[in-house]
């Protein structure tokens, strides 16, 4: 039943929403600012190496009371590009 499943998840959604909100509160960085930070970061890196923009994952993560900016930026396979 739909009613049952929504009820079941409310604590979980409270936690997920808070996790996001707290990271932004603590860093004083709005989601929009984070987006532009990502853009700048990728532009800078792209000047040196070719990256797979679609697979990039950049986000803020919590580690106890401290925050870290975690970026996973896959590089394009250069040799394959040259071969093709």
């Amino acid at each position: 039943m739909n009613w049952f499943t929504t009820r079941k998840r409310s604590a979980e959604s409270a936690k997920e929403r808070l996790q996001l909100v707290l990271v932004h509160d603590r860093t004083d960085l709005t989601p929009a600012e984070l987006e532009s930070l990502k853009d700048d970061l990728l532009k800078a890196i792209s000047r040196y190496i070719e990256i797979d923009r679609d697979a990039v994952q950049i986000g803020l993560e919590r580690d106890g009371r401290s925050q870290r900016l975690v970026a996973d930026i896959p590089l394009r396979n250069v040799t394959r590009r040259h071969a093709g």
Binding site: R7, K8, R9, A14, Q19, L22, R65
Partner: protein, 265 residues
């Protein structure tokens, strides 16, 4: 003797700061400690009614600071515990009547003669809150397992860390074990994980708390009350004793089976 100054704060209003101060003060006093509570909420005086001392107020903290009375004249002795005192907030003034250094001076004058000074911080993170934490050796943050209360608590924790007041301990108030069990309330583990601070006590939701406030006799004197037990445990931990956390799951289970028996499922 050198009193430990403990400030109870929360960010959000209505989460149970004043109730916590009144209950912890009575619990510490019944353990034989000498305790002074200070109502830090200038303009919104409340600790007096929760403690049942509203009829005895002559002077308040602003009178002390502005020199209209001696420190001891403004201290109201509790009805049941001769070593428990309240310094009430001024009702007709605002937060600007007190400064952080005023609070520190009052606390330093009290320190030699008492074991604990408990300060009830106002809600918010402005002047009144800054006054309340100025003299604190230790801060307890009260929150409820609700999104708004947890978010505000996190702000307070952040400010305390930035002010180098150390990491506060958490009182998780009004936890409903049955709702937690149904996954409809943040659990103590969830809140601790989100806030990243240490727990000093979980207080279950308990009707006896309101009844105690109505009567001006804090619930902690109620032997059978679960919330009362939780506050007594916190008071023991403040005195340096290692008290295991209460089994709240059990109560949830019992409550559920009562509901089931009553046909409410």
């Amino acid at each position: 003797m050198a009193a430990q100054v403990i400030t109870i704060s929360s960010g959000k209003g209505g989460v149970g700061k004043t109730t916590a101060v009144a209950n912890l003060a009575v619990a510490l006093a019944s353990d034989g400690r000498k305790v002074v509570c200070i109502d830090g909420d200038i303009g919104l005086r409340n600790l007096d009614v929760v403690m049942g001392l509203e009829n005895r107020i002559v002077y308040d903290i602003v009178d002390i600071i502005e020199g209209r009375c001696k420190l001891r004249q403004a201290m109201i002795r509790d009805k049941h515990y001769p070593d428990l005192y309240l310094i009430p907030a001024a009702q007709t003034r605002d937060k600007s009547a007190v400064s952080p250094s005023d609070m520190t001076r009052v606390c330093n004058d009290l320190r030699p003669d008492y074991d604990f000074i408990l300060i009830d911080s106002p809600a918010g993170i402005e002047r009144g809150f800054r006054n309340a934490i100025a003299a604190a050796d230790r801060v307890l943050v009260v929150t409820n397992p609700e999104v708004s209360a947890v978010r505000d608590a996190d702000r307070v924790v952040g400010i305390l860390e930035a002010e180098e007041k150390g990491t506060p301990s958490l009182i998780l108030n009004r936890l409903n074990p049955a709702l937690v069990k149904h996954n409809d309330m943040l659990s103590a583990e969830d809140v601790l994980d989100l806030l990243g601070i240490q727990l000093i006590g979980i207080v279950p939701e308990d009707e006896a708390v309101i009844i105690g406030s109505n009567r001006g006799t804090p619930v902690v004197t109620e032997v059978k009350s679960r919330a009362g037990q939780a506050f007594r445990n916190i008071a023991k931990r403040l005195q340096g004793q290692a008290v295991p956390f209460m089994e709240l799951e059990q109560q949830g289970g019992l409550w559920q089976s009562i509901q089931r028996l009553a046909g409410r499922k």
